[in-house]
């Protein structure tokens, strides 16, 4: 910290000299940070959207970087994490262009892609918007270049909304490369906030700042409106462009939805040193398969639970900083491949086995909860969604098992009062088997039309596989409007 303050002080002094001696020196070598801030500022925007679920809505803002001539903006995936936020709950995207002198400009935008492989998301100005101002976008071009340890670095980011989205610049020096599923570079000094670009001494954009420590992606955290974590406990790590450049080229497009490949090994465990020695794999990075999903690509290729993978496509596995990272690196490598790609894994099952090659053809990953369609039974206060692979997997049911899954409950609502729980899988409603979300929605609405105040009896399968009969009494008051569709 002390060192970085010193650097900043130095930068300010140099700035003063430069003003005094402007005709004598070029901007580039006298005031690199000031020049960089001005150069980068037009490329820094805020990305704003409304996360609206069936019960409430909230506006979120994060830092974004313009990366395309047409206003394509990349921002941290954690703002729109698929693990938390279903596809249809993100609305009213805006690209906010800050200004030092005027009000911010808001551009209507659309979500282009959530790229789980690189941890980035993308928005683009809405081509159908009639109110968007004409903007001359100034994209940042990332380059695959990494300075040496000790070389200077700079980062330019935006302060939170409460500080007027002012651009700020920081300086640091390369400190150490770290190994892991997402390679990260440790710096000595300060980086700007999450989602900010990082530059080398030449001013080339060489990476961006990911989530870390107590740094969140939000630029307007309502719980801590005056918090400035990027100032008081700055980021110390960045992701090099080499890790995400391929996510930008070809440019992401909403017309080409991401298809993530899948091998069908649900659990992978990096061998620790002790186990590696025990099975004769000293100094060989290796991963043990914890569970092969029946009828998955891995299963059909003949991989077995407890097989130990020692090579991928003939190459030794990549080592992480700790054993647990070997499997994450492997899993991420597979994730970055394409459906239909063929992967050759070299495995042993027991100590002393002759390694055997298993060839797996990657298939499309099963549907995830965030893309499942939903329906809100408003009068009883529960939201159901489609059953997806993970629901049947957890319950040890065949993937063909039918039903719908409770995705949300209104606190204190009739369903919550009847002890219905999130993740319960509804297999039967009012004596009729539940087949899918469409049938459920239709059956529910028909039942409500015929029995405006009828109790609803659900049979649910809990996460532990136990079943339960839930008798939900409708609310006493008027206004039983039946369910409302919330799905796509």
């Amino acid at each position: 910290m002390t060192h970085s303050r010193g650097l900043r002080f130095l930068a300010i002094c140099i700035g003063a000299i430069w003003i005094a001696a402007a005709p004598l020196a070029s901007a580039q070598n006298v005031n690199p940070t000031g020049v960089l801030r001005e150069k980068v500022k037009p490329s820094l925007v805020a990305v704003k959207y409304t996360w609206a679920n069936e019960l409430q809505s909230r506006e979120l803002v994060a830092a974004g970087i313009v990366v395309g001539d047409d206003g394509l903006v990349m921002f941290p995936l954690t703002m729109v994490t698929p693990l938390l936020i279903p596809d249809d709950q993100m609305k009213d995207f805006k690209i906010v262009i800050p200004s030092d002198t005027l009000d911010e400009t808001e551009i209507d935008a659309v979500l282009v892609l959530r790229d789980e492989r690189t941890g980035l998301a993308f928005v683009r100005p809405d081509p159908n918007s009639t109110s968007n101002a004409a903007v001359q976008w100034k994209p940042i071009q990332f380059v695959d270049a990494l300075p040496q340890v000790g070389d200077p670095l700079y980062s330019v980011g935006l302060l939170p909304k409460t500080s007027g989205y002012r651009a700020f610049v920081t300086s640091a020096a390369m400190s150490a490369p770290l190994r892991g599923p997402v390679p990260q570079e440790l710096v000595d000094g300060d980086l700007a906030g999450v989602g900010s670009p990082v530059f080398d001494a030449k001013g080339d954009a060489i990476g961006y700042v990911p989530m870390q420590g107590n740094q969140g992606p939000l630029l307007d955290n309502p719980e801590q409106p005056d918090d400035l974590p990027m100032v008081y406990s700055p980021a110390k790590m960045f992701v090099p462009a080499s890790d995400f450049l391929w996510s930008l080229s070809p440019e992401p497009s909403a017309d080409k939805p991401l298809v993530i490949p899948w091998i069908g090994c649900m659990e992978l465990n990096g061998l620790d040193k002790e186990l590696a020695e025990f099975v004769g794999l000293t100094n060989v990075p290796a991963v043990q398969i914890g569970d092969v999903v029946p009828n998955s690509p891995a299963d059909r290729a003949g991989l077995k639970t407890k097989d130990i993978i020692i090579k991928m496509n003939g190459q030794p596995l990549e080592r992480g900083d700790v054993p647990a990272e070997v499997q994450e690196i492997l899993a991420r490598k597979i994730m970055k491949m394409k459906v239909g790609d063929i992967v050759t894994l070299t495995v042993i099952h027991d100590r002393g086995d002759v390694p055997r090659d298993v060839t797996v053809t990657l298939e499309e990953r099963p549907k995830q909860p965030h893309s499942a369609r939903r329906f809100y039974a408003k009068d009883l206060g529960f939201v159901v969604r489609e059953v997806v692979f993970i629901d049947t997997y957890h319950r040890k049911l065949p993937p063909s098992a039918e039903g719908v899954v409770i995705a949300m409950l209104r606190p204190q609502g009739p369903a919550a009062a009847a002890k219905l729980e999130i993740n319960d899988m509804v297999t039967n409603m009012n004596g009729n088997p539940v087949t899918d979300i469409d049938e459920f929605k239709k059956d529910y609405q028909d039942f409500r039309t015929q029995n405006p105040r009828g109790a609803v009896v659900l049979v649910v399968s809990q996460l532990d596989g136990r079943e339960q009969t839930i008798n939900i009494q409708p609310p006493e008051e008027d206004g039983l409007s039946g369910g409302s569709g919330g799905g796509n």
Binding site: M266, E267, N269, D272, E274, L275, E277, F278, V279, Q288, G290, D291, T305, K306, Y393, H394, R395, K396, N428, N430, G431, A455, V457, V459, D464, G465, R466, E467, Q468, T469, N471
Partner: protein, 474 residues
């Protein structure tokens, strides 16, 4: 408001009694004479129970000291108390009304009813010529709401404490709170309802007798709901448990109650009769069928209505009726086929099931100190609720920091399926393989471990991380 209701009831009753001279009292009242007579009769049979209970924590067996109450029930010096007082006790002393302190031991216990029987050491009693009396067991089925009762015990260790109040309810089910009622994870209350009373009891009263004004034990004080809301186990629930424990106990094995199980959850049908198209007070809903168990083997399904077992109706309309049906199912002979008559939609089906012995979720637990771990047997219910493929293996309940199991990054809840590639069937099987490994002086041990759906190998660095203590003390 409750006070007001109780007072009103008392005053109306007084008027009625006054107007009905010569009519027998429905139950003996707490007159000063009766109260002193009951105290004189019962007090010499009430003991304070000081225990050291085995608790498995941090990879070791530890002793937890505590105290409760008990009542001597025969001339052999046998004492009835709560499971949560003396069950799992490895060291017991009782303090009699005459303040003599006598060693005792556990005869048997039953967590399902929260009861345990201990016995004073006969040699100590004889040698020290200790005298005591025992309390007669009455009947709880004839208790009436409003009846005066007295509690004897040692709240907060304060021996020879007597409190007084009346019965508030004779058939209380704590059905909705069953999960929260368990004793350190051991199920309790499935097979009985409770006596609710306003008699003040506090921690330490547990295991002491609830006595009517005839001086008979009608319940065992067990749970406090706070202030004037307390619960006792009816003595009619306790009597068969006492018999079963005493019959099954031997010098080397503690007594237990053998019950059978069909592996299914039942749900009262109240408000669901028309939905399932059954008559009022007909059958009980099978809410869930264990993935592994007799009901599943018999082809029973959740949503079947169980109408009868071996022709005897199993009607449960209200939660209060559930314990009685569970008790009836629990006495079906293990291993002998029974007929479950179920209604499935419009059909009536007769299914044949073979009851298995009832097990709780928590199996037997032991410490294996050389590896720094405590483990439990995987029981059938544990396997069912944890989605295990079968009823085998042992699971980690605690670990000692810095010792082999913790060093191998195993976690509480992990199931161990094999040691050095030899399968672990149960806790005894694990113990054999563990002892063998220690005898072999294995430096390293290979375990196969299951964590959720994940199966992996782990190596214990025994030589490097085992504690300095002598091995073999499991």
């Amino acid at each position: 408001m409750k006070h007001l209701v109780a007072l009103l009831f008392c005053s109306i009753q007084s008027v009625l009694l006054a107007g009905c001279q010569g009519v027998a009292e429905p139950y003996p009242q707490a007159t000063p004479q009766r109260v002193t007579a009951v105290i004189a009769k019962i007090s010499p049979a009430v003991v304070r129970v000081d225990v050291a209970i085995a608790e498995y924590k941090d990879g070791k067996q530890n002793l937890i000291r505590g105290n409760g109450s008990g009542v001597i029930i025969d001339d052999q010096g046998r004492i009835l108390t709560n499971y949560h007082v003396a069950g799992r006790a490895v060291e017991i002393y009782v303090i009699l009304a005459n303040q003599e302190r006598v060693p005792a031991h556990l005869i048997g216990d039953d967590h399902w009813t929260d009861l345990a029987i201990i016995q004073m050491d006969p040699d100590a009693v004889r040698k020290r010529q200790i005298t005591f009396s025992y309390a007669p067991l009455g009947e709880s089925s004839t208790l009436q709401v409003g009846q005066d009762v007295m509690a004897f015990g040692t709240p907060y260790g304060l021996a020879r404490t007597v409190t007084r109040g009346s019965i508030s309810n004779i058939d209380r089910t704590l059905y909705d709170a069953m999960d929260e009622m368990n004793i350190d994870g051991y199920e309790t209350g499935d097979f009985s309802n409770w006596i609710q009373m306003d008699v003040p009891i506090n921690p330490g009263n547990s295991g002491g007798p609830l006595v009517d004004l005839s001086g008979n034990v009608v319940g065992i004080n067990t749970r406090g709901g706070g202030q004037n809301l307390n619960f006792a186990i009816p003595i009619d629930t306790a009597k068969p448990v006492i018999r079963a424990i005493l019959q099954s106990a031997t010098k080397t094995k503690k007594g237990t109650v053998t019950r059978s199980d069909l592996g299914m959850d039942l749900l009262p049908l109240h408000e669901l009769e028309s939905f399932y198209d059954v008559g009022i007070d007909q059958g009980v809903l099978i809410d869930s069928v264990d993935r592994i168990g007799p009901a599943a083997d018999a082809g029973a399904r959740s949503q079947d209505i169980l109408l009868s077992v071996n022709g005897v109706p199993t009607n449960v309309r209200f939660p209060e009726e559930l314990a009685a049906v569970r008790r009836r199912l629990a006495v079906l002979p293990v291993g002998q086929p029974i007929t479950m008559t179920v209604k499935r939609e419009k059909q009536i089906l007769n299914l044949t099931a073979i009851p298995v012995p009832l097990e709780g979720n928590l199996g037997e637990e032991k410490a294996f100190s050389h590896w720094g771990v405590t483990l439990r047997q995987v029981t059938r219910p544990y396997a069912v609720t944890n989605q295990l493929d079968d009823v085998s293996g042992v699971w980690i309940t605690s670990e000692s920091e810095g010792e082999p199991v913790e060093r191998a990054q195993l976690q509480i809840g992990d199931v161990i399926h094999s040691i050095n590639s030899k399968p672990v069937k149960d806790l005894a099987g694990f113990e054999d393989l563990y002892n063998h490994s220690i005898k072999q002086k294995d430096d390293r041990v290979l375990l196969e471990v299951q964590r959720g759906r994940d199966t992996f190998d782990a190596v214990l660095e025994v030589k490097k991380y085992a504690p300095a203590t002598e091995p073999g003390d499991s």
